[in-house]
Every structure is written in structure tokens, then in C-alpha cells.
Amino acid sequence: MSSTADIIRGVSEGSIRAVARALSMVENGTSNSSDILDELFGLRRGITLGITGPPGAGKSTLVNRMISHYRDEDRSVGVIAVDPSSPFTGGALLGDRIRMQSHASDPGVFIRSMGSRGHLGGLSGATRDASFVLSAAGYNPVIIETVGVGQAEVEVADLADITLLVLVPGLGDDVQSMKAGIMEIGDIIVLNKADNSGIDQLESYVKASLELMPSGLKRPEVIRVSATAGEGLDDLWAAVDRFAASHTEKERISRSAIKTLNEILKENGLLFSEKLLEMEYNGREEAEELILTGTMSPYAIGKNLLKAAEGMFEHNGSK
């Protein structure tokens, strides 16, 4: 069961145990994880939905409703729920399942909780890879619920095909919602807790700040719901379907493939840089020492590393 080939076969056949193991492997970055992802990558299908918003906006409750909706359509649903890890102990209390209890015994629903493990941006470093594993196993949609975001955690928009930004009345004034970044990531803006007072005010703030968006960008739809009471949800599902229909599956798959390449290039860049540090300075610690003693600036080290890399490539090219 633990061989790489068994895991890959198990995932493609939808074995729950194999999917769970594969998720752990990509999350822990085990040595076979890139082999697993390489094989599973081509099996991705369906759609990825990102749910983001401030803490207490009702994201988990909305996800719970969303699971019911897609189960009624007889689709298997995968959920990745990310909660923060403590930067001090590395531990995490992952409690998003509590609000999804009604689906706990349903074999057509796969819920996985992930700690952010020191990654900023509202996700964990392995969320993208984990979403591919669920997608390859046949879960469609795969729903990604981020940690409660502040104003800079916009990463989910880069990963999901459709991003829902969930806002609620009373969590901040108009100035907060106009800050650059957070408003732009929502393909659909969900105003939750629509039964609370302050919802009209929230809606006019949101609409006013969308008016200020640069004219080239597509304006998101704004939908009022009450996830707890179950109101306005049909409008929301219709908006999601409309948005999904604006791109073909092929477009979505290729867009996510290119974004994945970008991520891999970044990760590889880090690995190469560390190898170069090893070659030129005996590793990171000695380079840090040079900086701390004022011998070299970080920029000088960066320049030397690039020069060393160029030297290597020229040497190889002239062979």
C-alpha cells in the first residue's frame, strides 16, 4: 500500500486510504511526492473553488452549505480547510470539520484539514498539490477554505478557478474594504449574515469600492446570503455556475498548469540558490555571518551567486 505505484493507482481509483496517504506525502514533501504529482497531474478534472474572507465571516458554514448543494447534484466533493499553525510551537488546532459534521459519514465527501505550517498567504505550502490529488481522485468541485485572511493574503485567487470572498457586516469600515488587494481577489463577493443589521451599509461600501476598480478589470458579482438560515444560496450557486461557464475546462486546466510551473520555478530557484550558497560560501550560515559582521552586503552575495551560476552555464555551453 505504501509503494508509490500503489498510491498512484489507489488515488486514480478513488481509494480513500490512498488519497489520504498521498495528501500526507505531498504535505510532508516526502521524496516520492513529485513522482506522485507528476503521475496525477494529467488526471485533474473539474473545478476548484476558493473560499476566503476574514475570521468569523462564516466561511466554514458556507462551505457546509456548498457541500450539500453539490451532493444534491450527485457530485463527490473534496474540501481542503486550512487553519493557522502556531509560529512558536508549530502546533495547530484544526476545527473546520465541526461545522461540516453533517457530511462526516458521507463517503462522497472528502474533508482534509491542513495547518498553514509557517506559510503566509492564507494557505499552506502544499495546498495546491493537495488540491490536485483530490481532483485526480475524482472530487469535483474541490473546495479550498483559507485561514481567516487579513488584507494581504490573496494567494487562493492564484490557485482556485473561482474565488469567493466572504464579507460580513461590522468587521471593518469602508476604508478597510478599499485597501488594495483584498477586494480584487473575489470573482464573486458574498455578503454573508444578510439578516444582520448593517448589511445595506456593507453592500453600499462594497459596491462603491468596486466602482473605483480600474476599468480593465472584470467587476465581481455581489451576492447577499445568510449561510446559517440558508437564504440567498440559490442565487450564489447560479453565480458560481455562470462564472464557471465563462471558461472552458481546457482553459482552466491550462491556466492552472502554467501557475503550477511558476510555483515550481520559485521552489527550484530556492533550491539552486542554496546549492550555490553551499559552493561559494560553505552554506547559508557562513554567508549570514559575512553579512552580520559587515564584511559583505546581502546584495553583494546575491551578485556573486548569479555570477557563479552564469560561469557554470557558460562552461557547460562551450563544451
Binding site: 502556531s86 470539520r97 459519514s105
Partner: protein, 133 residues
């Protein structure tokens, strides 16, 4: 990336008193573990499903209602039926001394009774992880 110890804390049965479960969950988190808490009134099947999907190393069950002789072995049975008997089980709650041997026979590596400090659970988990390697 490093491997984290993952623990699921589940509360089956009808009692809604989850102070103990939350206390242990927080202590394990503070010991650097990833703790998945399912909430109260879960069926044994729901707990077993969650444990498998979350690929945890440990499942801790808390129960105060007195139904442990039925519900604890039920979780163990479903896990092993689903091919997940490698997950280590422990339990806690109001459990009479004389019931403990049978629960251990049913697959529970440890039972913690009221008054047990959280550090004891942390030690138990760390020791089990060492033995496993």
C-alpha cells in the same frame, strides 16, 4: 518540510461536555502537534471516516456518558474494518477502573481518567511515536 504528529480528538455519544476534549486538544497543539477536533455527538463511523481522511497517527476519544463499553470498541472495529488498524487509539473520560482492561483488549493503547494531567497524554504520544520508528 517536516512531518507533524497528527491527532484526531473525537467525541461520540450524546453527552455534550467537551471541556476535557478541548483541554487535551489545546495541550497537544501546544506540544507542536496538529490536532483535528470533530466536535460533539459524532457517530463512531463519522470519527473513523474523519481519522482515515485526515491520515492521523492517533485517535483520542473522550466520553463522559458511560457508553464507553459500546462506543470505544465500535470506533476500533470500524477503523480495522477499513484497514486502518495502524492508527493508535486512546481514550479518556469518566471510566471505571474495572472497564479499562476490556477497552485495552479492544485496541486502546491507553485510557486516561479524570485528574490525569495533559502532560501525561503528550508523553504517551511521544513515547508511542518513538517506539514506532
Amino acid at each position: 518540510m517536516d512531518r507533524k504528529i497528527r491527532v484526531l480528538i473525537g467525541k461520540p455519544g450524546l453527552d455534550g461536555h467537551d471541556r476535557g476534549a478541548k483541554y487535551i486538544a489545546r495541550a497537544l497543539r501546544d506540544a507542536g502537534m496538529e490536532v483535528i477536533y470533530t466536535g460533539i455527538r459524532q457517530t463512531p463511523e463519522a470519527i473513523a471516516n474523519a481519522a482515515i481522511q485526515e491520515d492521523v497517527d492517533f485517535v483520542g476519544i473522550s466520553l463522559l456518558s458511560g457508553a464507553h463499553n459500546h462506543l470505544f470498541p465500535e470506533v476500533a472495529r470500524i477503523l480495522s474494518e477499513k484497514g486502518a488498524s495502524d492508527i493508535i487509539l486512546f481514550g479518556g473520560g469518566v471510566i471505571p477502573e474495572e472497564d479499562i482492561p476490556n477497552l485495552k483488549k479492544a485496541g486502546y493503547a491507553a485510557i486516561f481518567t479524570p485528574g490525569a494531567p495533559a502532560s501525561e497524554v503528550v508523553e504517551f504520544i511521544n513515547l508511542q511515536m518513538e517506539n514506532r520508528q
